[in-house]
């Protein structure tokens, strides 16, 4: 059953690609507007084989992972602080919401002024984008611990720190990891979009450069690369999550979209 649905989704992709290829040749679409899949594949292959794409890929991957790491640390620490201290939450939550309402892209020019051209502004924007789901989920997880388990820890005269470390964090791990999964996806968006402005290296910068030189096949090739990268990292995140939760005998959250090959 699963096998046949997978077969169908691959088949659908093949049909669409062939249709696209045939139509663009028959209709004589301009390469500038919509290049056929064969040209995109060729451009992608050339870029990879000549080694032209690799440094850009490396920069984006680095910015994404650095931003994700920074954002996750911020989100987790902030989430624990806000989850554990209701008074802080009341004072600080409006600021957290404001930080999410501000369009992060609009902050990039400012960040460039402060941090210079280079990878720092992109890393900071990525961190800003992906800290929020982790913070939100951590706060939620810490507030929704089973009341009876909390009573148990009170009866055993556990300290606040012990209750946090030995009960609230492990019990909340499924929720926290669900936030991490969202953060992984957002971090790639953050990195690529951050590079649109003022970066000279990275896949986002390459898209802007390809636009400048009207190299539409290269733009598509980079898009394909970004998609593959995001998909791979998402899968890696889900695998890590499942492994960790199984190991700790915690409920494994069903992924809303089953996109494994």
């Amino acid at each position: 059953m699963v096998k046949s649905t997978r077969l169908w989704s691959w088949l659908l992709a093949a049909v669409l690609l062939i249709l696209w290829e045939v139509l663009s040749v028959v209709q004589g679409w301009s390469l500038l507007v919509l290049p056929p899949p064969s040209r995109i594949a060729q451009s992608l292959w050339q870029g990879l084989a000549s080694g032209f794409l690799w440094p850009h890929l490396g920069v984006t991957l680095f910015e994404m992972l650095a931003g994700l790491a920074l954002g996750c640390v911020l989100g987790l620490v902030g989430g624990v602080a806000l989850g554990e201290f209701p008074r802080w939450r009341a004072v600080l939550m409006p600021y957290v919401v404001v930080s999410q309402v501000v369009p992060k892209l609009a902050l990039v020019p400012l960040l460039i002024m402060w941090l210079g051209f280079g990878w720092w502004p992109t890393v900071v924007v990525t961190a800003l984008i992906c800290f929020f789901p982790l913070l939100e989920n951590t706060v939620t997880a810490l507030q929704h611990v089973d009341a009876q388990q909390l009573d148990l820890f009170r009866l055993l005269r556990a300290s606040r720190w012990q209750t946090l470390w030995r009960l609230k964090l492990p019990a909340g791990l499924p929720t926290i990891l669900a936030g991490f999964r969202v953060a992984v996806v957002l971090s790639l968006v953050g990195a690529v979009v951050g590079e649109f402005i003022g970066a000279s290296q990275g896949l986002g910068a390459l898209i802007i450069a390809a636009q400048g030189s009207m190299d539409t096949p290269l733009m598509f090739a980079v898009l394909v690369l970004i998609t593959l990268m995001g998909w791979g990292l998402y899968q890696l995140g889900v695998q890590c999550e499942t492994w960790l939760l199984r190991r700790l005998s915690l409920p494994v959250r069903a992924t809303s979209l089953d996109v494994s090959p």
Binding site: Q148, D151, L155, R157, A171, L173, S249
Partner: protein, 274 residues
């Protein structure tokens, strides 16, 4: 000697009618007392007061002569549900009360393993409790409450969710363990046969009050065939009557002028089906 003493204890959750009111009770050392009553009659609140999880609005609780202000190391508590931590192994769950306060020593591990062996759980020591059946999980929870060798054991319907046969087995285990260690036990249940099987004395509760105090003079150790004896059944019937009596006096006490009036009208018109 009075081990746990309640004097005129009252407790009210804000915005609700009193849950526990004017309770006097004495639990002597080494005795097994049961609290029975319908759902919502204040049994669990009483137990939480005895555990120091809640502070009474009025009255006083004394444990071994000392005023009780919070949970103490000398008590073990078993909840209605096992409340185990699935990310720890069965053995680590049992050792949790020790690990929170000092490093676990070989003697502690040996004691935990002995308790689990007594409950037939040796093959599952390193497993997560998530893989155990409900009855096995309850046993782990009991072992966790006993591992610190508490002088006082507080149990809140620990067997309510189990099938009859498992429940009987666990009742036997518990009675043996507590008798061997001379543990004082306060055991909440709504099952009258369970109360008679386990208790030296039963408190019947209704609407937050103790409406009857019934001694259970059955000999110890209690055997399974006692369940079907005449004395056992007389005691169960007695408890049942005490519960019904408590219910009806409370109904009268709590009836408002309106409902009395309605009752009077309905009686005037003849029988009404309620």
């Amino acid at each position: 000697m009075a081990f746990l003493e309640l004097r005129q204890v009252a407790f009210t959750y804000p915005g609700w009618p009193p849950v526990v009111q004017g309770v006097d009770w004495t639990l002597p050392e080494g005795e097994f007392h049961c609290l029975v009553g319908r759902s919502g009659c204040g049994k669990t609140t009483w137990l939480k007061l005895a555990a120091g999880l809640l502070q009474p609005d009025a009255g006083e609780l004394r444990l071994q002569g000392q005023a009780l202000t919070g949970p103490t190391p000398s008590m073990g508590f078993v909840f209605q549900t096992p409340t185990l931590l699935n990310w720890l192994s069965v053995q680590d769950n049992v050792l949790l009360p020790i690990r929170l306060h000092r490093p676990v020593q070989d003697a502690d591990v040996a004691r935990a393993q002995a308790l689990l062996a007594q409950m037939g759980l040796t093959p599952w020591l390193t497993q997560s409790p998530a893989r155990l059946s409900g009855g096995q999980q309850s046993r782990v929870a009991i072992a966790r409450a006993l591992v610190t060798e508490p002088a006082l054991l507080l149990m809140d319907e620990p067997f309510a969710a189990l099938d009859a046969i498992t429940r009987e087995e666990l009742q036997d285990d518990l009675a043996q363990l507590c008798q061997a260690r001379r543990t004082s036990v306060l055991f909440v249940t709504h099952d009258m046969t369970e109360a008679v099987m386990l208790a030296d004395r039963v408190a019947v509760m209704s609407c937050g009050r103790v409406v009857a105090d019934v001694p259970v003079p059955l000999e110890r150790p209690r055997r399974r065939d006692m369940r079907y004896g005449a004395q056992f059944n007389t005691l169960c019937a007695h408890l049942r009557k005490a519960m019904d009596a408590g219910q009806s006096t409370d109904a009268l006490e709590h009836a408002s002028a309106d409902s009395v009036a309605v009752l009077a009208v309905s009686q005037a018109k003849g029988p009404v089906s309620w």
